[in-house]
């Protein structure tokens, strides 16, 4: 199995890693960098639990090879807020509106919503549905996830200063 040396930036920190060609980005994040918020629900790109932002776009980290992330900027749930600091508005929205139950699918959904709101601070219901449609949640029936997204929109536009993700 061939190995490659890759350098990538994760939540603002640069990492250089020696990886087998077949190592997935998800396994790199979880097993090498101990960033376990990114969850694996299907490992075939359907459930969306493993979604991270790769150069600003949502990516299924289970279908992305680590070598494909060479030079990329990756953002994961761990990068949204300081461990003791204020929650990111999307996290806060999910907390306020009970947008999660078991919380396993949540990190991927939160990252997709972060991307949506950075692209469009006031998305329509259809846009929200289209973004959430890329994720599976078995607990919530999605009702309170939609409410959480609307709450996040409100929090971002309200008294909160727009929180850009630290890079």
């Amino acid at each position: 199995m061939s190995t490659h040396t890759i350098t990538l930036t994760v939540n603002g920190r640069e990492h250089t890693e020696e990886v087998e060609a077949r190592l997935t980005l998800a396994d790199l994040l979880r097993e090498r960098l101990d960033l376990t918020a990114t969850h694996l629900g299907c490992e075939h790109g359907v459930c969306g639990a493993c979604t991270v932002l790769l150069d600003g776009k949502p990516a299924r980290s289970c279908l992305t090879l680590a070598v494909q992330a060479e030079g990329a900027k990756i953002r994961t749930l761990e990068g949204l807020a300081d461990p003791e600091g204020e929650l990111h508005p999307v996290q806060q929205g999910f907390w306020e509106k009970h947008g999660m139950q078991c919380g396993f699918c949540t990190p991927g959904i939160v990252m997709s919503v972060v991307e949506l709101l950075e692209r469009d601070p006031d998305p329509s219901d259809d846009e929200i549905a289209a973004t959430l449609g890329g994720h599976l949640c078995r607990c919530t029936g999605y009702v309170k996830i939609r409410e959480a997204v609307r709450e996040a929109v409100r929090l971002r536009s309200g008294s909160h200063s727009p929180q850009e993700i630290r890079r």
Binding site: A37, H39, W95, H98, C139
Partner: protein, 792 residues
């Protein structure tokens, strides 16, 4: 027992969940997030055949690979690991139990049955090793359809058992012949409830580590104590040798409320190899070897008078067991029989249940576990009766509801329903949907080419597993008793710890249990920590299945808290020189009745209970109490749901326009969390009705082995759900609570099915079975256009 605080301020409030902060920050710890030093990884070699002799298993090539530490086969565990337990042994009914081991030796009876395990230094190497294990199979004839499996001459799933019929049993009451004799119409339908999978987004996973002469087993389960009790039985160990610990669980839905061979095998591996061993289920494994559910064919006959009174109900339940049993497999369809008459006072009923082996993976509990099947069949049949009589289905329901005044209501076949007001929930539903206006809109839309329909389901269910006298070995035949336990401990600083035998998989126990304990002991929820999911750190418990956590586990916590308060009052009485009968707890202060200036907080009392020099000689220090609560009866949530759908007759596509649900789960501890449970339950039911189906090819090959093939509902095709509730407390616990976790799933499938029939009735479709796929809709329309009914 002392009374709780006069006006509890925390029960009934939709507090935000304390669980969420760790989950939102990425600090949740799910099974795959855990690692132990020197851990090995397991991968399984599973049968690709639905039925085959295992002629040889050669692990030599796998074992030779770098990083592979062991290749295990049935030979290695022979004499070490006993048969998989199944815990339903009803008196007077023979239940056949095929031999099932964590690794199968001579023969495999379904695709996915494990024949070897490879242990390696990393998961990639383990999977490479599993690919390198060479297994010779001798394929045998297989039978996949349970109806065919009952035919004379069908291939035998287990030749040594001599039959594919696992068990047969019946329940009933009233005079069936008289009931049908009095009927003016008799309606017969075959109602199918197809096989589905539970699909928690987190698959199963296990991590076992040797600790001296013990083993710690982390596992993603709803039932840690049952895993311990039955794994050690299989292993021949003392119960103290196994500690089961549950990390954050990424959804359960019933399929993690069981004992699986992987759990037992990994405990044994860790003990034998003296190294930690981890296994994380792949999604493909999850879809083929985590239990399936439903898989019932219900042959139903119902009688009614011209006036619309239901007179008799007969159901034959044909339940697909799969090839092997898990803990509860054959007992699930019995629940269907218990609630088959729904909300209705039917004077005579009988249910005949037959369990059938097939060459497929095991069925067992999935959210609702036998009750969705019962509610589905009776709610479809009530609509069918209404159509036969040319009457409004709402009217037929109202005519036959068990009236409020009859509660507690004893049914002809024995069950006693604790409390209910079915008319009230239906009336509330009709406040939210104006049926007359809907019918006018429907007619207008039809002229414009849109086929809109409305369907109702007024359901009840039995949950709060379970009163031991009704569910135990001498009654229903389940060999354990489903009481629940709690320890409430107040530390010297007044901080409260609740240890519970309930075990959440995302429901929010840490928040809800803290609310109810805080009320009882007079403190803030933030001062109450909830400990769960560790057999060393909690009393024996029965876990979270059957909508039991609040009604049974919550009541145990409440009673334990009351016992703490009783001791606190004695301490306060000593210190304030009053009689303990005169000590009252109000707004967080223990005071002497009539002298409100003389008072102590829980923190004061807790300090005095631990620094005891002010207490009399012989007064037992400490401030804690336990309770094992065995409920006096099942609790019976109920409600009324309505679905409004548009059916595209060209494509067969079904769009849900509105979904309304009135649910009654008695007293609500946290309304936000209950709404979440109802939402999730409804969408689980919508998933079954419209999208989900476990399918096999004719030779037993699973066809739904990815989430592309086994399709769950997404936010893109679902409307917001409109919820409301009525509150009819249960008399069976001091909280007045009933269960909330399964009701949505139970009500949704009949509401949707009835709505689709309502939409298509003008085209001659008078019946349809799930799954309501485009193909099923188009087939029904085609049959109807040639004058036939899909009910045939």
């Amino acid at each position: 027992m002392s009374a709780p605080a006069a006006s509890p301020p925390f029960i009934g409030r939709g507090l935000r969940r304390r669980e969420d902060l760790r989950l939102l920050r990425g600090d949740g710890r799910f099974i795959d997030d855990l690692s132990r030093p020197r851990q090995l990884h397991a991968a399984f070699v599973r049968s690709p055949h639905a039925h085959a002799a295992v002629e040889s298993v050669d692990g030599a090539r796998a074992a030779a690979r770098r990083g592979v530490v062991a290749v295990l086969t049935a030979e290695d565990i022979r004499g070490e690991i006993g048969p998989a337990p199944m815990i339903w042994n009803p008196i007077g009914t023979e239940v056949l139990v095929p031999d099932s081991r964590p690794l199968m030796g001579d023969r495999v009876a379904c695709v996915g049955a494990p024949v070897a395990a490879v242990l390696a230094e990393d998961p990639y190497t383990a999977e490479d090793g599993a690919d390198a294990v060479e297994v010779q199979y001798g394929p045998l004839p297989a039978v996949i359809d349970p109806l065919e499996a009952m035919d004379e001459g069908a291939p035998l799933v287990h030749p040594e058992l001599g039959t594919n019929v696992c068990f047969q049993t019946s329940m009933g009451g009233g005079d069936l012949d008289d009931g049908f004799g009095r009927a003016d119409v008799i309606v017969e339908r075959t109602v199918t409830n197809h096989r589905v999978a539970g699909v928690p987004i987190e698959p199963r996973g296990v991590l076992a580590e040797p600790h001296g002469d013990r083993v710690a087993l982390w596992t993603s389960t709803q039932t840690p104590h049952l895993v311990r009790t039955y794994a050690v039985r299989q292993l021949g160990w003392d119960e103290g040798m196994l500690r089961v610990i549950v990390p954050d669980v990424g959804g359960g839905f019933g399929v993690k409320g069981n004992l699986y061979g992987e759990e037992t095998l990994l405990a044994w591996c860790a003990h034998r190899l003296r190294r930690p061993v981890k296994w994380i289920e792949s999604r493909q494994e999850n879809l083929i070897s985590t239990n399936h559910g439903r898989a019932q064919t219900d042959v139903v006959k119902i009688g009614a008078t011209q006036a619309g009174r239901l007179t008799a109900l007969h159901v034959k339940v044909i339940a697909d067991m799969g090839a092997y049993h898990l803990l509860f497999t054959p007992s699930i369809p019995v629940t269907t029989g218990v609630i088959a008459s729904g909300c209705y006072a039917i004077p005579a009923l009988r249910t005949d249940m037959v369990g059938v082996f097939t060459n497929t993976f095991s069925t067992d509990a999935i959210r609702g576990a036998g009750r969705p099947e019962g509610a589905h069949l009776i709610e479809l049949m009530v609509d069918q009766v209404a159509a036969e009589l040319g009457r409004d289905p709402i009217e037929i329901r109202r005519l036959n509801f068990i009236p409020k005044k009859d509660f507690p209501a004893r049914l002809p076949h024995g069950p006693v329903y604790d409390s209910g007001d079915y008319e009230a929930s239906l009336a509330k539903l009709l406040e939210h949907v104006d049926l007359a206006a809907f019918r006018r809109e429907q007619a207008t839309l039809r002229e414009a080419g849109t086929n809109r329909g409305i369907g109702f389901a007024t359901y009840m269910e039995a949950c709060g597993l379970a009163p031991s006298k009704l569910s135990g070995p001498r009654s229903s035949g389940i060999e354990v008793s489903f009481w629940e336990s709690a320890v409430v401990r107040v530390g010297p600083d007044g901080a409260v710890t609740l240890q519970t035998g309930a075990c959440p998989a995302g429901q929010g126990h840490e928040t809800a249990f803290a609310q109810l304990v805080a009320d009882r002991v007079g403190t803030e929820p933030s001062r109450v920590k909830v400990v769960w999911g560790d057999t060393d750190a909690t009393p024996n418990g029965m876990g979270t299945i059957g909508s039991r956590s609040i009604t049974v586990g919550g009541e145990a916590a409440a009673v334990a808290a009351d016992r703490v308060v009783a001791k606190a009052r004695r301490i306060v009485a000593e210190l304030l020189e009053a009689s303990s009968e005169d000590i009252e707890l109000r707004e967080g202060r223990f005071s002497v009745r009539g002298s409100p200036d003389k008072s102590m907080t829980l923190t004061d009392v807790a300090h005095a209970a631990h620094v005891t020099d002010r207490l009399p000689e012989g007064f037992e220090p400490g401030l804690e109490a336990s309770c094992f609560f065995d409920p006096p009866g099942f609790v019976h949530p109920f409600g009324a749901h309505a679905a409004i759908v548009d059916v595209d007759v060209d494509t067969g596509r079904i769009d849900i326009v509105r979904y309304l649900a009135i649910d009654d789960c008695g007293t609500v501890v946290n309304p936000t969390l209950v709404d979440g449970q109802v939402h999730g339950g409804i969408v689980h039911g919508i998933g079954q009705a419209l999208f989900e189906r476990v399918e096999f090819g004719p030779q037993g090959q699973p066809l739904t082995t990815s989430l592309l093939d086994y399709t769950l509902p997404t936010a893109a095709e679902l409307p917001d759900l409109e919820l409301d509730r009525t509150v009819t407390p249960s008399p069976h616990n001091s909280l007045g609570a009933k269960g909330a976790g399964e009701s949505g799933t139970i009500a949704a499938t009949p509401a949707l099915t009835n709505a689709v029939i309502d939409a298509l009735r003008p085209m001659g479709v008078d019946f349809i079975n799930m799954p309501l796929s485009p193909e099923a809709v188009l087939t029904a329309l085609r049959l109807a256009s040639t004058g036939r009914s899909p009910r045939a």
